[in-house]
């Protein structure tokens, strides 16, 4: 039973999971000299792709999830990771992930409701 989950939601979940990984990597490197914090972006690219083609498939949406270095000012050792920013972004990502999981459930519920009561 493939193809029940909307590709847009699938890509969003992938993006959020990648964001969590990158945040963990940033926090692990908080003392590394010269390290620049990375940030995962996908929301605006996903939004643009879905606006131009609401029926985008998973292959259409590949490449939406990108990672870029941040431009925050660095400390003396060249490291620009701010623990507060990373922690708060981690909280935000957790909440977005839960919201996206509810959206996935919304894909499954119509089928489950009908199967259960027939």
């Amino acid at each position: 039973m493939s193809g029940i989950v909307t590709p847009g939601i699938q890509v969003a979940l992938d993006g959020l999971a990648e964001r969590q990984r990158v945040l963990a990597r940033n926090i692990a490197n908080i003392q590394t000299p010269g390290y620049t914090a990375q940030r995962v972006n996908f929301e605006s690219a996903l939004s643009d792709a879905l606006t131009s083609n609401p029926d985008s498939s998973a292959t259409d949406l590949s490449g939406v999830v990108t990672s870029a270095p941040t431009t925050d000012p660095a400390r003396e050792d060249g490291n620009n990771v701010s623990l507060d920013s990373e922690t708060l972004m981690s909280l935000d990502t957790n909440l977005r992930y839960s919201l996206a999981l509810r959206a996935v459930e919304g894909n499954f519920t119509p089928i489950r409701d009908v199967l259960r009561s027939s």
Binding site: T6, S47, L50, T109, V114
Partner: protein, 109 residues
Amino acid sequence: MSGISPLTSIARAAAVAPPSGVTPSSTLLTGSAGASSDSFSSALSGAVDNLQQVQNKADGLAMQAVTGTLANPHDYMIAATEASLNTQMTVAVRNKALEAFNEIMRMPL
């Protein structure tokens, strides 16, 4: 509808379609009540349209939620719950209607 899998559209259609093997006569449902707004058939078709609307609203908000443009997360939660309950209600009404129909068909004339 954007991004909805064929399986989901089938499930939604099945929510209101009768199971195979039963072919209720359309005259029984529309009957002598005709096009009166109180007739059962118009109530049922109204429920189907409403279900589609509610489902579409929930799907639209889901897309907004995952692209980060949704202002209030509870909007999507409420819409998703409404859609689910509407589906269940419509299926329950369909089942009851068929039970009633079968009951009537079994009555000796």
